[in-house]
Amino acid sequence: MSAPTLSTLTVGDVVAEAEFALSRDALVRYAGASGDFNPIHYRDDVATSVGLPGVLAHGMLTMGFAVQPVVDWLGDPGRVVDYQVRFTRPVLVDPEEGAVVTVIGKVGRIDDEGARIDLTVSFDGQTVLGKAQAVVRLDA
């Protein structure tokens, strides 16, 4: 797969769009893979004891998958040279229904070496990440 090129891009273009269905299993899988075993990500009793409405997705899990539609567009994970997010709202993952998180990536800026992709990441009609930006390296 060949990577997109700078000359084909315009600020405002939607370059990535995806929907992620999170289950409790996905949270346990991420806990194991990342080593983040905070029980608020898999035990309702612990989550509610610290004042949360229930089990939440790891912020770093949301950050992790939110960039994947951009990687798919690029065709190469190594082209992401800078990636930042602010964690603004939790993603509550229902034990039966799970949670659906949507990601839209738009071109926010273009320069000589690449582009900044601005991500809108939403759950339940509200954004859960702020200032979610991936700087990607592109050929001319």
């Binding site: 080593g35 770093m60 992790g64 190594g78 930042q84 964690f87 200032k131």
Partner: protein, 148 residues
């Protein structure tokens, strides 16, 4: 207990080398729904110019975590882990992390701020490869909630 303002500027010793395993990269990739062949298949990675499978961008958190553990365990820091919330996170790469890398991390506390009853601690973790070359800087802000 509040966060010690003298933490600002403090650095911790380099973490022990972390050897990035191919299966660990694949496991992490599956966990973040990363499906690029370059994350999973060494042949695809080599065809794209890498020596082995490439880790997803946020894999750097695994190494950052080791460095943050030093800060959280520092009795002089005064950080109550049960009150910590992740505020923001950034990764700035010189090159991607690839299976076979041996990574060490050095954490420096860049700022400690108190807002209302809460504290915000920001830290830069410089991750380097076996030859000491810069791989990625992970910047993290932690919000430490004050007593209710």
């Amino acid at each position: 207990m509040s966060v010690n303002p003298d933490l600002q500027g403090r650095s911790y010793p380099p973490t022990p080398p972390y050897l990035v395993g191919r299966e660990k990269v694949r496991e992490f990739a599956r966990a973040v729904f990363a499906t690029s062949p370059i994350n999973h298949d060494p042949e695809a990675a080599r065809a794209a110019g890498y020596t082995d499978v490439v880790a997803p961008p946020t894999f750097a958190v695994v190494v950052q975590e080791q460095a943050l553990a030093q800060l959280l365990a520092d009795p002089e820091a005064g950080i109550d882990f049960s009150r910590v919330v992740h505020g923001d996170q950034r990764f700035a790469f010189s090159r991607p992390i690839v299976a076979g890398d041996e990574l060490t991390a050095v954490l420096t506390v860049t700022s400690v701020k108190t807002l209302g009853g809460h504290s915000m601690v920001s830290a830069d973790t410089l991750v380097a490869g076996a030859d000491g070359e810069h791989v990625v800087t992970a910047t993290s802000s932690l919000v430490v909630r004050g007593d209710e």
